[in-house]
Symmetry: C2
DNA sequence: CTACTTGCAAATTGTTTGCATGGAC
DNA sequence: GTCCATGCAAACAATTTGCAAGTAG
């Protein structure tokens, strides 16, 4: 309920309203540890509210994003799909296995270091870094030899 | 001419053909230091070959990409636009200024270090890393105060 | 009640594809 | 001549928008 009040207040202070759809979509992202794209959020949300429209999902994701409640991430090189996750998680990056499509989270302070160095050097100010890695995980490296070029 | 032969040979060994369109598109990417998206490549190429079609540009970019002659990069957080650059440049990443849209190239070995560490830790094999930074450059930080939160 | 939100459908944007014609080798 | 490549238009996928009806505060 503190949760609910928090969202309601955040919305209110932006002149926005608390609706069942918004609550639903945020809770789905909040409770999963999977990496969901808009389509998948829609699929899951629709099970609980069959009238829900995909346009509402996109609109809600944009609202939540602007309010810094969720982050939009790209995991694969071609960035074909956008994924969303709540911002509660600590700093981490993603490695996508091209073999099994598994996503492994990578934790490292080095990205922040690069930002700090660059900022010190140029006086620039960072707002965001997008980092995604691609390759083959240990399992897939073992089972396939083809890409050991 | 060595240039031309090189491309022709690469194409030939892949069972592909050397065409004016392909030569043109590669030369545009080769000779510019700007960061071009498909639309801009098309715009510039069309000036030199008015019959050129955008579909050919996309097809050619994909061919060149598969032949590792160009790389596809994303610079902005929302990855709204894809840019292409020839692979002749050394390892570098991009910082996009949200104020003036300037793109600054960032050179650092740290990204490779992260990859090496993660590889050593998990046994994974990297094929690609996509890294893009966003923020405000020194000039824009000076001129605007709004985002010093 | 008033203004924000939704659902629905249509519009947009970026990219790809099918097919007949044209062109490299 | 044989196949690959091109131009054109149509198809696509992901996301956004216009608008009338619904609903939170």
């Amino acid at each position: 309920m503190a949760e609910k009040t928090f969202l309601a207040n955040k919305l209110k202070s932006a002149g926005l309203r608390m609706t069942p759809q918004r609550k639903l979509i945020l809770s789905i992202l909040d409770e999963t540890s999977d990496h969901l794209d808009a389509e998948e959020v829609y699929r899951r949300a629709k099970k609980l509210n069959s009238k829900l429209n995909i346009a509402t999902v996109y609109r809600t994701l944009n609202v939540l994003k602007e309010m810094d409640l969720i982050e939009q991430r790209y995991f694969a090189r071609d960035h074909g799909v956008e994924y969303y996750e709540t911002v509660t998680k600590g700093e981490h990056y993603h490695f996508t296995c091209l073999g099994c499509r598994k996503i492994i989270e990578v934790e490292t302070p080095k990205i922040k270091q690069v930002q700090a160095e660059f900022a010190a050097l140029t006086g620039a100010q960072f707002t965001h870094a997008c980092v995604c890695f691609e390759g083959y995980c240990a399992d897939c490296v073992d089972s396939e030899e083809s890409f050991t070029l």
